[in-house]
Symmetry: C2
Subunit: 462 residues, 2 copies
């Protein structure tokens, strides 16, 4: 990047809030997505604004000089939403990390964009409140990143996802103006729902600088159970069976045999090595009510064909099961060096059909695909275990991934349940939303970012 | 309207689906909002399309001939969202009224836009499911209208509003193309959240023709109670007190002394004539849990200063209380001929402050303002009781309404919690969303409707 531009940017955000060496910039070429690092995409500068006014000043400067800007939280997204472009400004928002307010009476929190999700959860739980969204990355991911990606997580079944907790936003537009959307009330129909338009816009419409989040009372208690199945299709059927009882559990996680074996060898929690699938189910709420729900779930799982249902007897046993679940991806890293976790999602009733399709695809292309996922909302993560330096294998893997997307769409599902489109799935988006839907999105993008400078290519693939 | 245009439109939707006499057209100059009927605004034609393709054909035709189109369900909105413009096409969508599907396994329904909200509720409740949004107009309002206005209702406290149940939409764009947004899954982050952009867009961005709605299991039981207060401020405080117990009731409705007296004289349900306020509280869910919640609510209301808490002993007693609540507006019609119900909304903790402001405004302008509302979510309905032929009084009422809006905004609230902006509140929208926020909305409008033909003036006031 031109030294004069660098000097100006240093004036805008302060010398200490800028990286401009090649080595530092190179570190920001990647995110948590599977993608080959390309030297040509080294950014021109990394800026760490500390205030909304600095974000605005950088955007105005970028617009004046037609420089691409890519906003970034922790870079933990897995869809290539924060991959760099050559000579761009990477705007890292992790220094804007204050919890500004926790309002007990109105059940809301106001936070700066760079607050870590897990940190917010801990703070609100201390005073009996609860922020349910729980993406796997919550220990390091930022709220701003979660909002930009509309992040999900296991608790989506009962509690919904990030979008369901965003009441209001402070946003810096691509052209630098600062706007506030929504507010501090649950009911709010003044004007277009810009809050939800910006939520999940993957950094392409504006930079989120502040977030008003809805909180809920912390559930009194929770119960965890493990249902074990000889056939994975039966596990899929049990998911609908539980919901049909009128029970919406907090989570219904499915793990297939590949995951069961690898997790057990790694975490030793007593997973049955000969089972084809397990469901890890949690319910929360009133303590007395939970006992009733656990019994109902146990009954329906057994009726549908579970060979065993284990109920965690105390918090420690429950924690062990959840630690095992969270180790899923890590445990598979021993099998193959490259792990690509997709998140094509289907209606809950289509889980058995989708699992069947995934197995057929795996067989057809001779690719190892494991299945883990938030089965309660149909959000399966087909996990492609491969080796990226094996070109021949990777060409088969790519075809298998494409077919997984098409299978989900055929079953009336969606390309992405919670990971986002980013650069990774941009080539497929028209398949789902159609040419006319694509044009509507593009028109909105151009209306707000006429020079296409803010995270260009993400979602649209151009 | 030109006879050739009328002839063409008859060809597009069929002769039987058109009204073009002055008398018929005049009937579509109004909606449920307070507004003077103006002869000059008589529409040119009323069309009743029966299919999405007909809606699309009419929009294409309108675009070609630059004719204004105003879509309309039951016309029950109270913000002037469906008032006519001179020589426009009014598109009434009530003939597209089929429930296409109720999917028990995936907890969703697919309906045409003209299905009545109450009808859908009855159908899904027959099979143990529940569609919570309950605007006062549910017996005749349409789902499409509810989605266009993002309608609310008493159950918003616990269950949210219409927007929280819209999973997907079929929309005809202003330029006639048909798009599908969202889908049949709860987790879906493919592209911008167009579903939520169109929800609450008040017929300005597209015409909703089909809706995929989320359903939930029907609660096992419910309990209704009435808390009686000598001071309305104490009732306001009790609302926050209940929530602080970690209980989110289904509804917390507040009625002030004007309403209490008028309802009692009209409905005879035993409302205490000397009380300054009552809270009508309902909880639902597991039967055993309800008993516990009712006891907790009773305790906290008494601690905060309720002079009495009555618990409905059976369904009939509960129904009587709710019938009384629903009669609120009707009961006041005896006092004054013109009733203007506003819905400026404040954060829950500001209810006592907002009530104080409303009383001050009433005194300052010597205007009769009654207060009823969904206190659990801060969504108060200040009701202006007046006589529209009394010009002098009306000028005071108008000033009092303006000040009510400003009071809500000062208390970090919103102009509209659930009624929408329409033509009635359009002059105030910039006060809340700012010049830059307004420009963002306008850019989106123009990107999708470059000729400003679809419901022009609504929300933007130009």
């Amino acid at each position: 990047m031109d030294q004069l531009l660098i000097k100006s940017l240093k004036t805008l955000v302060g010398e200490k809030n800028v990286f401009d060496s090649f080595e530092d910039c190179f570190c920001y070429t990647y995110d948590a997505s599977f993608s080959k690092i390309d030297k040509k995409n080294t950014p021109g500068i990394i800026v760490f604004p500390e205030t909304t006014e600095q974000v605005s000043a950088v955007m105005k400067f970028a617009y004046e000089h037609k420089i691409t800007v890519i906003p970034r939280g922790a870079g933990s997204n897995v869809s290539g939403g924060t991959l760099s472009l050559p000579e761009c400004i990477i705007m890292v928002l992790t220094k804007m990390n204050k919890i500004l307010e926790i309002d007990r009476e109105n059940l809301l929190a106001v936070v700066e964009t760079g607050v870590k999700t897990g940190q917010l959860q801990q703070e609100v739980e201390k005073i009996g409140l609860f922020y349910p969204p729980d993406p796997a990355s919550l220990a390091f991911a930022t709220i701003g990143g979660n909002v930009a990606e509309s992040a999900g997580g296991p608790r989506g079944v009962k509690y919904g996802t990030t979008k369901d907790y965003v009441l209001g936003l402070e946003i810096v537009l691509p052209t630098g103006e600062i706007i506030n959307t929504g507010g501090r009330v649950i009911k709010n129909v003044t004007g277009y729902n810009l809050t939800q338009l910006f939520t999940g816009s993957e950094g392409t419409l504006g930079i989120i600088t502040k977030v008003v989040l809805k909180l809920v009372p912390k559930p009194e208690a929770k119960k965890t159970m493990l249902a074990i199945f000889n056939k994975i299709e039966t596990a899929g059927q049990a998911v609908s069976g539980i919901i049909a009882q009128g029970i919406i559990p907090t989570t219904i996680e499915l793990l297939d045999d590949v995951y069961i074996k690898n997790i057990e060898e790694y975490a030793h929690v007593g997973f049955p090595l000969d089972a084809e699938a397990v469901l890890l189910i949690e319910v929360d709420g009133d303590e007395e009510l939970l006992e009733k729900q656990v019994r109902k779930i146990e009954k329906v799982c057994k009726e549908i064909g579970a060979r065993e249902v284990r109920i965690a007897q105390n918090e420690q046993e429950a924690d062990e099961l959840w630690t095992a679940r969270r180790a899923a991806f890590a445990s598979c890293a021993r099998l193959k060096p490259t792990i690509i976790g997709e998140d094509a999602t289907v209606p809950r009733s289509e889980i058995p059909a989708m699992i069947k399709r995934i197995r057929e695809i795996a067989a057809r292309y001779n690719v190892l695909i494991a299945v883990v996922g938030h089965a309660g909302d149909g959000n399966l993560h087909a996990t492609f275990l491969c080796d990226e330096i094996d070109k021949e294998e990777m060409s088969r893997v790519e075809k298998a991934i494409d077919e997984t997307f098409y299978a989900a769409l055929e079953l009336k599902g969606t390309l992405s349940g919670e990971h986002g489109i980013g650069r990774a799935k941009a080539p497929f988006i028209k398949q789902q939303i159609g040419e006319d839907g694509y044009r509507v999105m593009k028109k909105i993008k151009l209306a707000l970012d006429p020079e296409n400078l803010l995270n260009p290519g993400v979602m649209f693939g151009e």
